[in-house]
Amino acid sequence: MSTESALKVLTPGDFASDQDVRWCPGCGDYSILAQMKKVLAGIGAVRENTVFISGIGCSSRFPYYVDTYGIHSIHGRAPAVATGLKTVRPDLSVWVITGDGDGLSIGGNHLMHAIRRNLDMNIILFNNRIYGLTKGQYSPTSPLGKVTKSTPMGAIDNPLHPLSIAIGCEATFVARSIDVNIKHLEMVLHRAAEHRGTSFVEIYQNCNVFNDGAYNFATDRETKADTTLELEHGKPLIFGKDRNKGIRLHGMDPEVVELGKGISEDDLLFHDEKAPEPSLAYLLSRMRYPEFPEPIGVLRAVDAPRYEEMLNGQVAEAKKARGEGDLDKLFNSGDTWTVA
């Protein structure tokens, strides 16, 4: 069908829609959009076979800015919209764009169920730890004590941790990146796109209007090497400007250790994104600044059956076992009688 675009190699620019991008100047969303367009071009995406589905929030305006098919749906429900679409059209590449409020607050239930069903789609959660669109209320990821318009005396709800939730929902792909860490972000989005099954990606995103600097610890040139830890499959958990610090297991708990002084790389935890049990991934998802460097990269990437394949498989199996549905046969089955 798509002769023109299938033959032509698309560039990131080809994925830009004709709509003006309306985020605040300096918003982290711009960078995510730019990396997404690069990734789409990089994976050889076909515009008409790609669908972006979002909920409501600043980040959820995303579909308007990409020249693909898209639905800007209602608050929190994008994963469910995507589920309907993907089950009917498994051939399409489906991306869900959501925010921390959209995905974890109003849409927490749908997020949980989309992840456990493991449809082959990508869920990208922009986490700015605030409600941007509604002008600065605290969100489910805001830290305790966070002072906002709706919490003048400080937030008293314990924050949620998106990666821990995803892992708790048996996510087959879990990753994290940071808006301004563009190479890393591109890599993570690329990996997500390649994963077969639901990929869940949390992106630390700066809202410079209502929550500026929420991730300074992770983006500050001076500190980021000590406050973040880039995960690599099969490699020990090493971090720090001088790459002299690592994570070791002490009993069941991780601890930060310095290399040398009797501690070698072999004493450290090694990252295994393919571990069948998600314990390690969960442990990583619990590592939080300032006690720990916060891991970025792919925490988990395992293969498991996909919902749409199983559902369509059942349809195919039923057709094979019972033959293509025949309405006349169905209507005339069982007890019937004739009136002359």
Partner: protein, 620 residues
């Protein structure tokens, strides 16, 4: 009108009657729904017209023997066309005192009352609120009482099969059926076939049920208690091949048929809720028809999954009951805004809130017509009887794709669970439904997702089509381009466009028909599941000389073009509804006509008598 003949096969005289109404009632564990269904199927197969009314408690297991746990199934069979399960019953089978006390008021004076004598022990009597046994104190004098030791006789019948007492007692409903079958001269073979199919894997249980059934039948035949049998001859229905069908089955099959006739795979996204769940159950059985059923995590996911599936090009449908439809409201708004075709089925039940889950009501009309934020028009059509659900679904899908809009289908618990004979259509003779998707654009032209045709309908472009990339969503759209727009005048224009599109459907639906005189003293107008009671009451009133007409609405939004005229042609307009006057409000608001209401909100359908009485009052 009864005539007596002596039958060859039996020793007792058979009295021919035109119709009979039988109700089985007992504890919810007693298998009364099964007994009723079996008698229904058999009666249908011997050619009677039938109408049924299953009535069961919301509690899965209320304490045994209590009034809260009473479950009933009423069946009306006749040798003429009938529309209702009957107001009062000619024969009542009561399996325990609680069932007797809660159902006795509906038995006609002189009616046949069969009770399981063994269940009238002290404890059960007390649970039912009796101080003494009604079987002995003469309070049942007005009826033909047959007090049968069903428990003991059933146990005797199954002796030697090695069943436990509990298992043996579970066959009692077959004993009761056997007796009722004898009483109304129904053959046993349908039920015997059912037993084979159902209990084939447990030969002992199958044999026990067979024996219980025969034992009940033979009891009627042998025991001196019963003086005669009754017979209801086949009805003169429109020639054709028939089967018995419930409303929910007809809805599910209508969906399969609409999917086939539009060549569009069916996606049914839903969350279980009584009384709508059976649509899901039925569809889930038929995956070989290409149906994808999706049991979502909640109603909001159900409707939004349907939006995703509609965008993808599927025939997308969700079904629920009032509380679930309430949750779907925001999503339906998105459906209206994005102008995607989809069906929203509401099998109404008693409300508000969780209300009366297993009882019927018609109080979600305004919810369907108006129950969303903003100016949010959606077509609404209602089924009038179990079999009618099939046709209504096909019609709703035709409108949905022609006008690119969500369409509401209203049914209710009464017609969803009730059943009637359905003349089996030939699939090729069903209307075919045209679905078109625009093809690819390869010359670089811009695709305009909100450009409209002469019906004001926008195109249904599906992902995967080159050059048609577009974004839809809940934000207001600029006319033609579909770009997000906050322009005040554009918004007003779009509000009018959406309203006019739906209003224009009136040009595409049949004119309203009226049963009875075109002008006269009284018009009875109703909608949905009250059809049977209204049609019967109006015909009876006319037979008695009243100038009364009946008009039953299928299309509630928009309403038929000629309705205003019809309403003005009668001196009085009566609007019976199982709510406090929702259709009346719409009629008054749309046509400015004075109407009289007949309103009932008891979780029960109208009886014919109730409507007749009101008609008489207005004609007086």
């Amino acid at each position: 009108m009864a005539s007596t003949t002596t039958s060859v096969e039996t020793h007792k005289p058979i009295i021919e009657v035109h119709s009979a109404t039988v109700r089985f009632c007992g504890d919810s564990g007693d298998g009364m729904q099964l007994a009723g269904t079996q008698m229904t199927n058999t009666s249908a197969l011997i050619g009677n017209d039938i109408a049924t009314f299953p009535d069961f408690p919301a509690e899965i297991r209320a304490p045994r023997g209590t009034k809260a746990g009473v479950s009933g199934f009423q069946i009306h069979f006749a040798d003429t066309e009938i529309f209702t399960p009957g107001d009062r019953v000619d024969a009542l089978v009561a399996m325990n005192p609680a069932a007797l006390v809660t159902n006795l008021a509906d038995l006609i004076p002189g009616g046949i009352l069969i009770v399981n004598k063994d269940a009238f022990d002290e404890k059960s009597l007390k649970l039912a609120g009796y101080s003494g046994s009604p079987l002995e104190d003469g309070t049942l004098k007005a009826f033909q009482l047959f007090s049968v030791e069903m428990t003991r006789l059933t146990r005797l019948a199954v002796e030697g099969l090695g069943l436990s007492v509990k298992e043996a007692d579970r066959c009692r409903n077959f004993y009761a059926m056997g007796l009722a079958f004898w009483l109304y001269d129904r053959p046993l073979d349908t039920t015997l076939r059912y037993i084979d199919a159902k209990f084939g894997k447990r030969p002992d249980v199958a044999e026990a049920n067979r024996r219980a059934l025969h034992a009940g039948y033979n009891y009627g035949e042998t025991v001196e208690a019963f003086a005669s049998q009754f017979r209801v001859n086949p009805a003169k229905l429109t020639p054709g091949k028939y089967r018995n069908i419930t409303g929910n089955e007809a809805t599910a099959w209508g969906l399969l048929a609409a999917s086939k006739r539009s060549d569009c795979d069916l996606f049914y996204g839903t969350y279980p809720i009584t009384p709508a769940s059976d649509i899901l159950h039925e569809l889930a059985k038929h995956k070989n028809f290409g149906v994808r059923t999706f049991q979502a995590e909640d109603e909001i996911a159900a409707i939004t999954s349907v939006i995703g599936a509609a965008f993808a090009g599927a025939m997308s449908v969700t079904g629920s009951s009032g509380p679930g439809i309430a949750l779907k409201g925001e999503g339906i708004g998105l459906g209206v805004m994005t102008e995607l075709p989809m069906l929203v089925i509401n099998v109404q039940r008693g409300g508000p809130s969780t209300g009366l889950p297993t009882k019927t009501e018609q109080a979600d009309l305004l919810q369907a017509v108006c129950g969303r934020n903003g100016e949010c028009p959606a077509p609404v059509i209602a089924a009038r009887s179990p079999a009618d659900c099939f046709d209504v679904v096909l019609e709703a899908w035709r409108i949905a794709v022609r006008y690119m809009t969500p369409v509401f289908i209203l049914t209710d618990g009464y017609i969803a669970n009730g059943s009637e004979p359905w003349r089996i259509p030939e699939v090729d003779s069903l209307p075919s439904i045209t679905v078109t998707h625009p093809g690819p654009i390869t010359n670089g032209d811009k695709y305009l997702p909100y450009q409209r045709d002469e019906r004001l309908s926008r195109p249904w472009a599906v992902p995967g089509t080159a050059g048609l990339q577009h974004r839809i969503g809940g934000l207001e759209k600029q006319d033609i381009t579909g770009n997000v727009s906050y322009d005040p005048l554009n918004h007003e224009h779009m509000v009018h466009l959406r309203a006019n599109k739906v209003a224009g459907i009136a040009n595409d639906i049949p004119l309203q028909e009226v049963d009875g005189p075109e002008k006269g003293k009284l018009l009875v107008i109703g909608w949905g599941g009250t059809y049977g009671a209204l049609a019967t009451a109006v015909r009876k009133a006319r037979a008695a000389g009243g100038a009364v007409a009946h008009c039953h609405l299928r299309y509630l939004n928009p309403m038929p073009r000629n309705l205003g005229e019809i309403l003005k042609s009668y001196d009085k307009v009566l609007v019976p509804e199982l709510n406090l006057g929702q259709l009346r409000l719409l009629l008054q608001g749309t046509y400015g006509v004075e109407t009289v209401g007949l309103n009932k909100v008891q979780g029960k359908p109208f009886t014919v008598g109730e409507v007749e009485d009101k008609i008489k009052e207005l004609l007086a």
